[in-house]
């Protein structure tokens, strides 16, 4: 008799969501986390004595269904009433600000009347598309060519939804879905800051720039499916409240959680009837048996490192090898002894984007894609201490910034000097928007994608485990034969960001995987 019904590898939010659903249906679940803290990239960590922050610093589209079904609100996860404004920073203080009021209506300032009018049209259309796609993010997309009418219906529904857009909107969707972000923005707007700001969420986390083809608009629509129509927000009590509420539900449902428990190998038994997952092997030799193993680790780590290619098909293993999963986003954490001031802003409000134009983003990408630092990086800056107490001593602050594009493979190889150089360059750039910042800095931490890879066990240091690009999405995510949460190895499932629908704090992959595992 196996000791557990299910072992879940990785207590990131998706692993926890999956664990909760399975345990609530009576399964005996063991959740193993390699780090000493649960939460993965959303885990709060002390980067300097008394200063804390998580790598994932905001939420754009966490699943409302998961919040409701797991009753996260009674376990301490509370959505705010207001989303964060997104601010396109301008060095001279003339910012572009996109905000949402309590009713969810967007307001845009700092742009021309013409752009304002265009924005209304843009928004109406994009929200229609985002709403059309939304149900499919939380649906298991069936394997093409396999299964009966019920499975075909999922695609029929998608077709119908498309058709219901009406002829002209449907045609327009077909046209813009694959457009590079640049083309879409140029069609609608004049203001450079606005264009850079709106295209940001189509690109961040993937190896993509404004001129990149391959479905950035779909990635944008994925994020626009959130409660605040894609505007980022912080739950009350911060990102950690998501992780803690999930832990609370997991524990209440009987999930056993072990931290400091890295899995060395997924144990696979082979005999005349083929392969079957047997459990996991820990580094100290301990063997834990289970009916199934569900991995929230990225596909590469799961298949190549934990399963081993000797248990996989050759072409399948090579599709995992070819997944585009190289991270290009670094993380800057600053411990400050006072509140930073940004030119033209009353306080360090919202999600501040430093990207003067789409060309700046493109040039930053051009450097990085050939393995060099961006001469002028672009970034997304948040001061979480503005919204949440307890991350720093009273009166002190933390800056959290996603910096693009920082190649995981640096041509000149990562070393202390290289890291210092780009860290200082990033701080210098940030100081241009926040004069006096340098004097406030108590400590600065710079996590390159390589650091994110080694600290958080994410291949390539890629948040999404595999880029959000059209050939790696939907029923192709991470690749066919593993895109429905089950895998070619009987008893092994995936539930992480490398599955449909993808990365970010959404819980959808964990939810969908549990649905697939529990299906009658």
């Amino acid at each position: 008799m196996p000791s557990y019904d299910t072992i879940i590898i990785g207590a990131g939010h998706n692993g926890m969501v999956c664990a909760c659903y399975l345990a609530r249906r009576g399964q005996k679940v063991l959740l193993l986390e390699a780090a000493n803290e649960i939460g993965g990239l959303a885990a709060k960590r002390e980067f300097f004595p008394e200063f804390q922050v998580s790598v994932a610093h905001s939420i754009s589209h966490f699943s409302a269904k998961v919040i409701k079904e797991l009753n996260l609100e009674s376990h301490g996860f509370i959505n705010p009433s207001l989303a964060l404004p997104t601010v396109g920073l301008n060095r001279n203080g003339e910012h572009v600000v996109l905000a949402h009021d309590e009713g969810g209506a967007a307001s845009l300032s700092g742009v021309s009347e013409k752009d304002l009018a265009s924005f209304k049209n843009y928004q109406t259309l994009m929200y229609r598309y985002a709403a059309m796609l939304k149900p499919f993010w939380e649906t298991v997309l069936p394997r093409i060519g396999v299964g009966g009418i019920a499975k075909a219906m999922t695609y029929a529904k998608l077709g119908l939804k498309l058709r219901l857009l009406g002829k002209s909107d449907m045609r327009e969707f077909m046209r813009i879905a694959m457009l590079p972000a640049r083309d879409l923005m140029d069609e609608y707007f004049d203001n450079d800051l606005l264009k850079a700001l709106l295209s940001w969420d189509a690109l961040i986390g993937s190896k993509m720039a404004p001129r990149s083809p391959n479905g950035p608009v779909v990635s944008l629509l994925y994020r626009m499916g959130g409660d605040f129509e894609g505007a980022h927000y912080l739950p009350e009590n911060g990102i950690e409240s998501l992780i803690y509420s999930l832990r609370s539900v997991a524990e209440a449902s009987g999930v056993e959680i072990r931290t400091n428990a890295p899995v060395e190998k997924i144990l696979i038994q082979g005999n005349e009837s083929g392969l079957k997952v047997e459990g996991v092997k820990m580094p100290d030799g301990e063997i834990i048996t289970a009916t199934r193993v569900v991995s929230s680790a990225d596909p590469h780590r799961t298949f190549v490192d934990l399963v081993g290619v000797e248990n996989l098909e050759i072409q399948f293993a090579n599709r995992i090898r070819r997944l585009r999963s190289e991270g290009y986003v670094a993380k800057l954490h600053l411990a400050l002894h006072g509140e930073p001031k940004f030119t033209g802003l009353a306080g360090p409000e919202g999600r501040m984007i430093i990207a003067p134009s789409m060309d700046t983003i493109e040039f930053a990408y051009d450097d990085a894609k050939y393995g060099e630092f961006s001469r002028q990086p672009v970034m997304e800056v948040l001061v979480p201490t503005r919204y949440q107490s307890g991350l720093a001593p009273p009166g002190k602050h933390v800056i959290s910034a996603h910096v693009m594009y920082v190649p995981k493979k640096l041509k000149s190889k990562w070393c202390v000097d290289a890291r210092e150089e780009i860290k200082n360059k990033t701080i210098d750039l940030l100081s241009q928007y926040s004069p006096g910042l340098q004097d406030l800095i108590v400590h600065a931490e710079f996590l390159t994608p390589e650091d994110i890879e080694s600290n958080f066990r994410v291949t390539g240091g890629n948040w999404h485990h595999a880029d959000h690009v059209i050939d790696q999405m939907f029923m192709m995510r991470p690749t066919y034969e593993a895109a429905q949460y089950s895998t070619p190895v009987p008893g092994l499932f995936l539930c992480g960001a490398g599955c449909h629908p993808g990365g970010d704090l959404t819980g959808a992959a964990g939810h969908n995987a549990a649905h697939e595992i529990l299906k009658p």
Binding site: G274, V304, G308, V309, E310, L312, E313, I314, F316
Partner: protein
């Protein structure tokens, strides 16, 4: 430069078929200058006369140049695991100095190629096959920590010596105890001035008769040829080309790429390739092995049964059924398959063929519509076919150790 008459650079150098390590000797013997090509190397179609060479192989012995064959060293701690996952047979029980015939398939269980694995050491193998396979090997290695692939195709000279007198010739050549070498075994021999044993001999071949394959470094290739031909003078030694080989292998029931099968990685239409079951190579698929590439797909194929099956046909009359279709009725209304190779077999005295036939029709009548030509006139003839279970021709000496004297 300057004077155009003095330019000696050949602008087509890269395009021309290369010469193998035995070319200097073969060129002299290739009276008809009838060259074909194999993997970029010149290879004789026949040297003098295909049928003559065939009879030499069946009654004396013949040499066939296999320098064009692809040879890969697969080495390292994970070499066995990597190969065992790639091929459908289980090689984990193989001993050192043994050879095994095997096939490998895509994830979908479609045949990529057939070949042989030589176990040269505990972590050292040689894989041979008909077509360049480096890309597939590289893919197959992905994820294994300790395995290296070295393409030895140009660095090993290889010559097949096949036929009833082959053992005697090698004995005369001085290969001590060659007669104790078992089928699919390997032995290493001293040769020439060298102190070590540079000559490797495997008891393998593609003719269904007693035969050996000789492997040596290129510098010693011609010396080996001369020594072999000196020893073989009284044993009817004769080089043979592709045409004679094709006759001999057909009688033995062996399959050929581009005749019996298409390599799966080279076909465009998904039904133009084959599974091992279609090729009647069931015996090469070992489901006792928990995992190998294509296993799940092949298990399904075994369960469902292949749509087509490669069979051996004995056909009435004496007109070779080359390139014909076969039917379930004499009226040729219901087409059930096609002939892949066909010949009049002198040794069996039968009109033989290999054919792909729809499995469900195998129990019923099979008729071949044969087209032939007499002095520029075309004729058609419908002949009854009988399915043969055993190879058309084999000889006990090919399995006996020591081989029976001839």
């Amino acid at each position: 430069m300057g004077d155009s008459n003095t330019i000696t650079v050949d602008p087509f150098e890269e395009e021309r078929p290369k010469e193998t390590h035995f070319h200097a000797r073969m060129a002299v013997l290739n009276i008809r200058e009838n060259w074909a090509a194999w993997n970029g190397y010149k290879l004789a179609n026949y040297f003098y006369d295909a049928e003559y060479e065939y009879f030499c192989v069946r009654n004396g012995c013949g040499t066939y140049d296999i320098c064009g064959m692809q040879k890969y060293f697969v080495s390292g701690k994970d070499a066995e695991a990597m190969l065992n996952r790639m091929v459908t047979r289980d090689i984990s029980e193989m001993n050192v100095d043994r050879v095994t015939y095997l096939v490998w398939c895509t994830d979908e269980g479609r045949l990529i190629d057939d070949g042989t694995v030589f176990k040269l050491g505990h972590e050292h193998f040689m894989l041979t096959c008909g077509s360049p396979s480096l890309a597939w090997l590289e893919k197959s290695c992905y994820g294994f920590k300790d395995v290296s692939i070295v393409d030895m195709s140009e660095r090993i000279a290889a010559l097949a010596l096949q036929g009833p007198t082959s053992c005697e010739v090698l004995k005369k050549m001085g290969l001590k105890d060659i007669d104790t070498l078992k089928p699919f075994g390997i032995k290493h021999f001293p040769f020439g001035a060298s102190k070590d044993k540079p000559l490797m001999v495997s008891r393998t071949g593609f003719t269904g008769d007693l035969g050996y394959e000789l492997w040596i470094k290129p510098e010693l290739a011609l010396e080996m040829w001369d020594s072999l031909y000196d020893a073989g003078e009284d044993y009817h030694i004769q080089p043979f080309g592709e045409a004679a080989l094709n006759m001999a292998r057909m009688e033995a029931g062996f399959i050929m790429p581009l005749m019996e099968f298409n390599e799966a990685l080279k076909t465009i239409h998904f039904r133009h390739d084959h599974t091992p079951f279609q090729l009647s190579l069931d015996w090469l698929v070992d489901f006792k092995k928990p995992h190998f590439n294509g296993r799940a797909a092949l298990l399904k194929e075994q369960h469902d049964g292949p749509e087509y099956t490669l069979v051996k046909l004995d056909i009435e009359g004496n007109k070779p059924a080359e390139e014909c279709n076969v039917y379930s009725d004499k009226g040729c209304e219901n087409e059930i398959g096609y002939v892949t190779s066909a010949m009049w077999s002198p040794v069996v005295k039968a009109n033989i063929a290999l054919a792909m036939v729809k499995t469900k029709y195998l129990k019923g009548e099979i008729w071949a519509e044969i087209y032939y030509n007499k002095e520029l006139r075309s004729y058609t003839k419908v002949s009854r076919c009988t399915v043969k279970e055993k190879p058309f021709w084999t000889h006990p000496r090919s399995r006996a150790t020591p081989p029976l004297p001839y």
